[in-house]
């Protein structure tokens, strides 16, 4: 941090930190945003992830200046932006619908923010060409928008958003209109582009895999509140509550009971002796399907692993992985996922087979039970 401030005078900063405090926005009685606090670091790729109606787009629009929050503050570096109209915020934006201008060519679209900033025609042409090269569309400058494919439109929208070198880039589900293959390719390209530009990026999506793939940090939002803000690994491995555990990745959530000494048990298996921040309430066990492994011979719980005995209810081959539903204690269904290969005897599993499943103690996730 100290480094950054000392660099400021010599080098124009390529990115700005965003500081959001107590941001609240109501639509009628509904809290679209409920006192949101969020610090986005300079140059960071932060994803706002949440189900539809969670407030993620409202938050993005508040950063862009398209809605006026009822309370709270949005600062770019040290500057309060709440009263600054969108056109003076210097923020690049990409919409889900791309919102390209159909009455202009590709090059005219990209030149649009430069013209507004009265960039000279020579420099303007150079920068448009450079932006087109960055998004690999060098030959398409003279095309009309309706002559472009979905993926190409996406790239033009992107080029138009960064060509004027904004220090903040906002994207509202920019890839959701593309098919799966192209979307995955663009995710990698966007990530690469972000590294190249070094611009602070706030990205909105409802696709958890996309969020995991691209983000430095993910902010999970639900009912207008931030539930958890952390790196993809931390969020996946240590979800803060059942909403996050359920929303990110696949998971089986099982209720835990307590013995007299306060230890957490599941059907007689010792799960955790003392969860952090234990307030004596109810807890749940979260099991990621790929963290379970099959054990050939039935064994007892050990120092390293917990062993569940159960019966196969369903076996589904899905290509690169297979998915097995295992019933334990005749009450609970455990989802198991494993990589398929021709040597695996598990490929021949049948419903009704008895199996033993192991879970490393390091993979145990306990979360407070939601009300």
């Amino acid at each position: 941090m100290a480094n950054q401030i000392s660099n400021k005078s010599s080098d124009t900063p390529s990115a700005l930190p965003i500081s959001i405090r107590g941001l609240t926005k109501k639509y009628g009685r509904l809290h679209a945003l409920d006192s949101v606090d969020l610090e986005i670091k300079s140059g960071e790729f932060l994803t706002l992830l949440g189900p539809s109606g969670s407030g993620k787009t409202t938050l993005l629009m508040a950063i862009a200046g398209f809605n006026r929050p009822d309370a709270g503050s949005v600062r770019f570096a040290e500057t309060e932006m709440i009263l600054t109209p969108p056109h003076r915020r210097d923020v690049g934006m990409v919409f889900q619908s791309y919102a390209l201008f159909p009455h202009m060519t590709v090059a005219e679209n990209i030149a649009f923010p430069l013209k507004l900033r009265r960039v000279g025609s020579g420099e303007c042409a150079d920068r448009v060409a450079a932006a087109l090269a960055t998004v690999q569309l060098s030959d398409l400058g003279e095309r009309k928008i309706d002559q472009l494919s979905g993926g190409q439109r996406q790239r033009v929208a992107l080029a138009r958003a960064f060509v004027f070198r904004p220090r903040i880039l906002l994207m509202d589900e920019p890839l959701s209109a593309l098919d799966k293959k192209l979307r995955e390719q663009m995710q990698i390209e966007l990530k690469h582009l972000h590294r190249q530009l070094g611009v602070t990026t706030v990205y909105v999506t409802h696709d958890q895999r996309e969020a995991l793939t691209m983000s430095d940090r993910i902010a999970i939002i639900n009912h207008g509140r931030l539930t958890q803000v952390d790196t993809p690994q931390a969020i996946y491995n240590h979800p803060a509550n059942s909403f996050v555990a359920d929303f990110i990745g696949e998971s089986t959530i099982l209720p835990l009971s307590r013995d007299d000494s306060g230890k957490l048990l599941f059907e007689g298996h010792l799960i955790s002796s003392s969860p952090t921040q234990d307030s004596g309430g109810a807890w749940s066990l979260v099991i990621r399907p790929e963290r379970l492994f099959f054990i050939q011979d039935s064994a007892a719980d050990s120092e390293q692993a917990i062993v569940f005995d159960g019966m196969v209810k369903e076996f589904v081959f899905q290509g690169e992985t297979a998915f097995v539903l295992v019933s334990i204690a005749d009450k609970y269904n455990l989802s198991v996922r494993f990589g398929t290969n021709s040597f695996s005897s598990q490929n021949a599993m049948q419903p009704g087979d008895r199996v033993s499943l192991g879970l490393h103690r390091k993979d145990v996730i306990v979360i407070p039970q939601s009300m």
């Binding site: 862009a64 200046g65 398209f66």
Partner: protein, 271 residues
């Protein structure tokens, strides 16, 4: 294969099955068009009276129209009122349609319906009401009064045309333009307006025609040197049968047709 056995569309229905439909459609079309078209040959008659079919052909009634200072003055009035109505109703209706479309306000729909009422209320009621209201403020028999009344009639049309255009338009384009550094006003003029300009032109032509064709309100509130063409035609028909009216009607039909075809042509080029 015989024509009537061929399928008429993607369904199994053949042209033969549809024959009755073609006949009905033709009759309806003729009923709609013949009364209009019958005026045209009558206008080229040499007779003192309206006559169909004409026994002798001449252009005397066109000459009568062009030479009459009364008809010419009325024509100028109609053109003036039409143009001013167009210039007033088009921006007003466009702005209203845009505002109501963009605003997410609960009352937007109600305001829209309220502004559309001149289209729904019988024109005769508007005419009577306007006549008495104008009597108080001295706007009867004035160009201003006519333009204001016609603008009230034409604005709903403009609003409907522009709202339809905005429905197919992605308002995020304006948002993007603003995020890229354009003020909201500028974004409207350089991003939104160019994309709905054909609809704006259509709306302008329609508002001109609304005023130019309008007769009921004109009968009530226009008069003297500021009487419109349609009002003169109506009075002329009531007093005596003057074939000049056939000539004027023919000209009006041509003007209207050309204007409507123009809007159609503009509309099809837009796609």
């Amino acid at each position: 294969m015989d024509w009537w056995k061929k399928p008429a569309s993607d369904t199994q229905v053949t042209h033969g099955d549809r024959l009755w439909l073609y006949i009905v459609a033709t009759i309806v079309m003729l009923l709609l068009v013949i009364p209009t078209l019958i005026v045209m040959p009558m206008s080229f008659s040499d007779s003192q009276y309206l006559e169909f079919p004409p026994s002798n052909w001449s252009l005397r009634w066109y000459a009568e129209y062009v030479d009459s200072s009364k008809w010419m003055r009325a024509t100028v009035t109609s053109l003036q009122v039409g143009t001013l109505t167009m210039l007033l109703a088009t921006p007003l209706g466009t702005l209203a349609a845009y505002a109501l479309f963009v605003s997410g306000h609960r009352a937007a729909k109600a305001v829209f319906v309220f502004l559309i009422t001149p289209m729904i209320v019988p024109v005769i009621l508007i005419a009577i009401g306007t006549f008495y209201a104008y009597g108080r403020v001295g706007l009867n028999n004035t160009i201003t009064g006519l333009v204001l009344a016609h603008t009230a009639l034409a604005t709903p049309l403009v609003m409907i045309v522009i709202t339809a255009a905005l429905r197919t338009y992605d308002l995020n384009q304006e948002r993007v333009a603003r995020s890229l550094g354009s003020t909201r006003l500028k974004a409207f003029f350089i991003i939104t307006l160019p994309q709905i300009k054909f609809s704006v032109m259509t709306a302008a032509l329609l508002s001109f025609l609304t005023s130019f064709d309008e007769v009921i309100i004109a009968i009530f509130i226009s008069g003297g040197s500021n009487a419109t063409l349609t009002k003169h035609m109506f009075s002329a028909l009531r007093d005596y049968i003057d074939p000049t009216i056939a000539a004027i009607s023919t000209i009006l039909i041509l003007v209207s047709t050309v204007l409507l075809l123009t809007t159609q042509f503009i509309g099809s080029r837009q796609k």
